[in-house]
């Protein structure tokens, strides 16, 4: 938050929505694995932003706030689904498949599927690191977690994802 913000900067809801809807939607989708649920979460996050608009001080604050609330709402949704005993990632392609043009490349999709198999804290940390390009310090602030914990999640998550990717992709290549 080093950029100078004009003193008369006023948050404009529609502009923030235009700028950040894909970020919020992507975070929610990759965290929950459910496209429909991700749309609901994105809607809730932006409606909450509308209610808190007067507290938003700068574009960076808006971005931080949106990331934080999107991650928190996604975690809440996962918790609610776990209580109901629904496996979200089983539903991803069956019920809420994206239109063809929105789908990632086969390898990208495979990595996304592997990401989904990671424990939730590791998934969150990796998502913020590689989707949002945040530093561990920034991730710690967004997730409101100690820096050491975030670093550990990143390290373990990356290691696990890499080993899963190596074995799965080798099988994938053999099968191709």
């Amino acid at each position: 938050m080093t950029r100078d913000v004009p003193r008369d900067w006023q948050p404009e809801f529609e502009r923030l929505l235009d700028e950040h809807q894909s970020m919020v939607f992507s975070l929610a989708w990759r965290m929950t694995g459910d496209r429909g649920l991700a749309e609901e979460i994105a809607q809730d996050v932006f409606l909450e932003l509308d209610m808190h608009l007067s507290h938003i001080e700068s574009p960076e604050h808006a971005l931080f706030w949106l990331r934080r609330v999107a991650m928190s709402r996604s975690a809440d949704a996962l918790r609610r689904r776990r209580v109901r005993g629904v496996d979200l990632w089983v539903e991803i392609e069956e019920n809420h498949g994206a239109p063809v043009e929105e789908r990632a490349s086969p390898l990208g999709a495979r990595l996304e599927q592997l990401l989904a198999t990671l424990p939730e804290p590791q998934r969150a940390a990796l998502l913020l690191r590689y989707q949002e390009d945040l530093t561990p310090e920034e991730i710690a602030r967004v997730l409101d977690a100690p820096l050491a914990t975030v670093k550990s999640h990143l390290q373990r998550g990356l290691k696990l994802l890499r080993s899963k990717a190596q074995s799965t992709l080798k099988e994938f290549i053999r099968g191709a």
Partner: protein
Amino acid sequence: MAREPIDPVIPIDRDEEFEGELRQAFARRPAPPSLKRRILDARSRRRADRQHRRMALWQRLAACLVAAAALGGGFAWHHAQEERRGEEARQQVMTALRITNRALNEMNARLAERRRDGNE
């Protein structure tokens, strides 16, 4: 026959390359085109609902104020009426006392006159 080496589709053997692949794979997905419209519609509905609720609250508050004013006015009027009646009653008692006082004075004067006539 010698087995052909597996051609790695993505270079994941080195950290930097794997991280580069992850960055590509986890690029932001575009939001559905209908999402913005749905959010704006929900926002308008919520605002209208909030405004409606605020209006209803003000109406209820105004109704309460009118009722309180009517009750207070009624009570004040009743109190004023009571005071006026009390004052009238006090005035009547004072008049009656003045009449009685005058009558007693006259009686005293007559008795005193009779006593004086009897002594003479």
